[in-house]
């Protein structure tokens, strides 16, 4: 989907089109793969926290407070791919 399609979806409140776009992006053009990749990333985000280790919350809070929305949104996508890659279950043809 081009940016024009996405902006039309935003204007129409068509969330499903936007979500489908994200699934296609993280699933390398395959929507069902994208669903699995999103689930995989959430599991990878959960696993390191299960034993309640210390985390650098000051860094997190400072980042959330001081960085702009676009940078934080990019960080969200970056974390998705980073966590999936760290899992070792990498479906993409290329690499980061």
């Amino acid at each position: 989907m081009s940016l024009a399609y996405l902006k039309a979806a935003v204007a129409d409140g068509d969330t499903e089109t936007l979500v489908r776009y994200v699934r296609l992006h993280v699933g390398d053009g395959d929507e069902s793969s994208g669903r699995r990749e999103i689930d995989k990333a959430w599991v990878q985000a959960l696993l390191p926290l299960l034993d309640v280790p210390e985390v650098d919350r000051e860094f997190v809070l400072d980042t959330l407070k001081t960085k702009d929305r676009a940078t934080l949104a990019h960080l969200f996508f970056s974390l998705h791919f980073h966590l999936v890659r760290e899992s070792g279950d990498w479906i993409h043809d290329g690499d980061l």
Binding site: M1, S2, L3, H25, D28, F77, H80, F81, L96
Partner: protein
């Protein structure tokens, strides 16, 4: 490999692309004629332009996670050692290219063709970007124009364009 009646390789590919990424393909209403070569290839300076996501090690990696794409390009010195280059690209298999970069970015083959006199010369820099760009207008206004200006500044007489 199957071809359509108009000679298009892999017929149906564009339908698939447009189904998955509708509106992402650049379409041109006006005919843009190819520039004719003003001198033999053996006397011409060639620039190589690739979507392979190849870049010198140590430069900012291409933004492969961005959902709308990366509209920047990198200059790759044409005398680079492949060992000094790396690939940042999600959308094509890079295993072969990691064994021999020339399969996707034939920098050494082009130097050989220059040394053999098949090509008159090479520009000081080649150019590389990633092909995942979902805003065709921005791609045309920034990336395409930027590379075109850079190729002209290198006094290229031939541009070899290669999708990854």
């Amino acid at each position: 490999m199957a071809t359509s009646s108009d000679g298009q390789l892999r017929p149906g590919l564009w339908d698939t692309v447009n189904e998955r990424y509708p509106g992402s393909m650049i379409s041109k209403e006006d005919l843009v004629p190819l520039a004719s070569l003003g001198r033999p290839l053996s006397e011409a300076r060639l620039a190589f332009v690739s979507t392979a996501g190849v870049q010198p090690k140590g430069t900012l990696p291409f933004d492969v996670v961005h959902p709308v794409g990366d509209y920047s390009f990198r200059r790759v010195p044409s005398d680079s050692d492949p060992a000094d280059l790396e690939i940042h690209q999600l959308k094509y298999p890079t295993d072969g290219a990691h064994r021999d970069l020339n399969v996707i970015f034939p920098i050494e083959r082009l130097r050989e063709l220059r040394d053999e006199g098949v090509i008159g010369g090479l520009t000081d820099n080649f150019f590389s970007f990633i092909g995942y760009n979902m805003d065709p207008g921005l791609l045309e206004r920034t990336l395409a124009e930027g590379i075109a200006e850079a190729v002209c500044a290198e006094q290229a007489e031939v541009a070899l364009l290669s999708p990854a």
